[in-house]
Symmetry: C2
């Protein structure tokens, strides 16, 4: 009885690990959000596929548990890394009363890493990863983390910087961060990572407030040493050059 929780990376097949491909090939049932299923449809051709809309995460994980209890190997699919705002922790929670079900998390390239590679090398030193989605976390907690991360001079990587319902969140986040970081702090947005239209934009923290972002954007806010080198965002580790 086994459930794989598979991180498929940013989207391009070249960034998906062989271990992820093997797990998807071994599984009898594939469970995931429709958009992610589409990215791997050639690997899972002919398998039973249970896809659903974005907000049905708990239901999807219960389905995977039911499959496993019925003796069928299930794979729950996440984009990026399954452990970073992905399905891994939820699968463990859903399976809490079932120690007989083996869970194997297959790590993938998360947007902090794939987006950083597109924009340059922004997370070359200590960094904090914060989601701006307040669907499951109160905005007060998010603001507190933004302020403390800025005070600590972390590079800050923002997931879910905005959506249709949350259009002003990035601006509010930048204002919290600007209480501790200079308005001239170098920042970048990586967009459509691993997909058509992949690109990045460089901003100052002051400019970032009004940047257009969507669900396919990952935001990087530099530390006090971050700078732009040959057009890319780079945070030095501290080596003497």
């Amino acid at each position: 009885m086994k459930i794989y929780v598979v991180g498929i990376g940013p989207g391009d097949r070249a960034d998906m690990t062989p271990r992820a491909v093997d797990a998807l090939s071994e599984a009898e049932v594939i469970v995931g959000y429709g958009t992610y299923i589409e990215l791997i449809k050639d690997i899972i051709d002919g398998k039973e596929i249970i896809s659903s809309t974005m907000t049905r995460e708990t239901e999807r994980c219960r389905t995977a548990l039911e499959c496993a209890l019925a003796g069928r190997c299930a794979a729950v699919v996440s984009s990026g890394d399954a452990g970073v705002y992905g399905m891994a922790s939820l699968v463990y929670e859903i399976c809490a009363g079932h120690p007989e079900v083996e869970i194997e998390v297959i790590p993938g390239i998360t947007a902090a890493c794939s987006g950083a590679a597109v924009a340059g090398a922004p997370i070359g030193h200590d960094f904090a990863v914060i989601s701006l989605s307040d669907r499951l976390t109160s905005w007060e907690v998010i603001e507190k983390r933004l302020r403390l991360a800025a005070e600590a001079d972390f590079v800050i990587c923002l997931y879910n910087p905005s959506s249709k319902k949350r259009s002003g969140y990035l601006k509010r986040a930048c204002e919290c961060i600007a209480e501790y970081k200079s308005a001239e702090t170098q920042c970048a947005c990586a967009v459509n990572i691993g997909r058509n239209g992949e690109r990045y934009e460089i901003y100052t923290l002051d400019e970032l407030k009004d940047a257009h972002t969507d669900m396919f954007t990952t935001v990087f806010i530099g530390n006090s040493e971050t700078r732009v080198i040959n057009g890319r965002l780079v945070t030095p580790r501290g080596y003497r050059i």
Copy 2:
């Protein structure tokens, strides 16, 4: 004129992306620390290999630049992700005066993600990544970041928790964190990720102070919601179960 900066993941070939393999195959010269070169020797068989000891990072990147300027494609190899305490930012810095040299960073699975998958799902919510190495960062800055990350209730992932020269650092780090997090905070160490002897251990924050760690250990310190489920460390995202 091109330099690839390649993240080869935790060590196991199954966790290395096809894009990393392709870049290593395309490169004419491979530059890296000897231990990492060993992990990929079958891919780079027959190529010119320039390996050196751990502390010669700047020299290795200069060598890559010289190769590129001479028209030879070079690949600089990092374990994990090349952008997370890896060679990516240093390559950009070394190439600052040479915009004609194209740099492509190939992301890999970093220890925060691969170690999390071994230990369970500890980074399922906002997290901070901090290196305890004070070779390039002052211990005062490290302590400040530890305290603020703990105050923010981030899950904290520690890289380089100790080495032969830094045996008491993890204890000191735990003491800083314990100023803000409960002594009962659930923690884990992931050891030898993707290599022989891969394993994890669960601790409370109080126990973690005296845990044995080495350069092949990645440490996870939970947030206030993190708990142990079926023996694994899990940080809920916040879904109602």
